[in-house]
Symmetry: C2
């Protein structure tokens, strides 16, 4: 066990949180992570309300431990999702991609622990003022949706720690004990890990997507679509088409049309790695194995202790 304000807040053994990810993190992954002593999150961003309901019920059945639901506030079903998590007494909700002031009060009045994801100091302060229990500070290297300030984990975390009193969870570039130890050196009391858990047996990412991640090299991802919703993608044929559209100085509307609908599902869930949208973090170039979620958690913890011991030798 590693004790921080985050492990106390969530009542978990290890300060590791599996990120809520569209098309990759349903009840199976969330419950496997929660059963390992870390915190699993159901990513509701890709779910209709009735689907989310099913995942919550199955997750509750599969683990006695705490788990969470991530609700990206930019999706259309937000209000229904909020009502659902309250109805099902989901203990912890991570909100992201929106303002923390809109839903925090309602969730907290209903006994839900609220964490908001931010990518700069301004929104961290806003979140603290809105009464959230903790924040996730997400660096530029993180996969999926991200901020425009391009603050990296190395620069964002110490800045948040300097001005924020509530506990901070680091995200972006983390997937090993070494990176966990680094994030905790920067002031984080927990880490949120996405890409590493995409490469778990229990993630619902398509095997084609997992294999594409395993093959990726450094420079293989990029933060793009900055004028629409900034998102870090694996560079594939679809990504190249976006870049070509930019080079050809196409309009934002043209690029929105090119993106279309359902691209993330097509790529990440259905395995179309050429024409699908593949959201993944920069750490993918480091990752080289698919494993059960529990083994991933244990490996990270062992690596954390090893890294800490190594630091003590200097």
């Amino acid at each position: 066990m590693i004790k921080t304000r985050i492990t106390d807040l969530f009542n978990i053994d290890f300060p590791i949180i599996q990120a809520g990810m569209v098309w990759c993190s349903g009840w199976r992954l969330a419950s496997a992570v929660s059963n390992s002593g870390a915190l699993g999150i159901i990513g509701s961003g890709s779910m209709y309300p009735e689907i989310l309901s099913t995942h919550i019920l199955k997750c509750k059945k599969a683990t006695k431990n705490n788990y969470a639901v991530n609700i990206p506030l930019l999706y259309p079903n937000v209000s229904e999702h909020i009502d659902l998590v309250i109805k099902h007494q989901v203990p912890i909700v991570f909100t992201s991609a929106g303002s923390p002031s809109k839903w925090t009060e309602k969730l907290k009045e209903n006994g839900v622990i609220v964490v908001h994801v931010v990518s700069n100091l301004k929104f961290a302060l806003k979140s603290q003022d809105a009464g959230v229990d903790a924040i996730v500070g997400e660096g530029f290297e993180a996969g999926g949706h991200n901020g425009l300030d391009e603050n990296t984990t190395f620069c964002l975390l110490p800045l948040l720690k300097k001005y924020i009193d509530i506990p901070i969870i680091a995200a972006g570039g983390i997937g090993t004990g070494k990176t966990m130890c680094a994030a905790m050196s920067l002031g984080a009391e927990g880490v949120q890990i996405g890409s590493r858990f995409v490469l778990s047996n229990e993630s619902s990412a398509h095997l084609n997507f997992k294999n594409a991640i395993l093959k990726s090299k450094d420079g293989g991802t990029s933060l793009t679509l900055k004028e629409i919703t900034p998102v870090r993608l694996l560079k594939n044929k679809f990504y190249q088409e976006i870049q070509n559209a930019y080079l050809e100085k196409k309009s934002i509307l043209d690029i929105k049309n090119l993106l279309g609908r359902g691209r993330a599902k097509q790529g990440m869930f259905e395995g179309d790695i050429d024409d699908g949208e593949l959201e993944i973090g920069q750490i993918s170039s480091y990752l080289d194995q698919i494993k059960p979620a529990k083994e991933i958690v244990m490996e990270i913890i062992n690596d954390f202790y090893k890294t800490r011991n190594k630091l003590n030798e200097y």
Copy 2:
């Protein structure tokens, strides 16, 4: 004292290297840092050969400890600079912004310790093959010239450590003991620090530039001019003019003309913070004090120990 392969290689007390920076790091800063037990570097990128000669001689006189010269390989005087450092028996040379294969052999034949700065794995492997003694792995958050892959310190360092045997120095986002501890968690055996030393009494950066750094917020820097030479700049009037030129879809030649010559000197050395080019790292939003270089080094070391102790409490 903190002992790593880097402190052994350079014969220094602390694994801290002050980055060679155009217009900011002459003999005064380099010798002050070397006298503090870390390694000071003269940044030759802004110096004609005769100026570099003067700085080397003054540095030698001001410190008995090891010091280094940084030679960016994209400048016109490279060949003369190489001959000069050999003639003056400069003990350590950091090369950057170019191929490690061209000058390493000559420098090493003449007894010089060679370190090359890289921003991706490919060039790290090339540097190791070229026989350099160590590499600097420089993340996306670093100030000044940078790579195109946008690999952040959090993602670059573990990747280099996975495939490289020679010692690695981390750069980008480092300026405190917390960030040093984080970098060493990621596998670095030393840290290279730029921006923090710009804010030293001994740096030759103009006070206007120092004050602009002190006032900067997160999101206040950006990696730009990617088609010419990617460089991280403080966002000022000149930076905005570049962005406007991009928005107006101006040609690369037009942007090169807008950049012109001497912009870095104008901004960083002469203090024209509106029309000058202000090279600085993303960590600038965190920095809030100008201090003597020796105090900066001591503060970092104390903070490193404090951070390590804190990690041991978890």
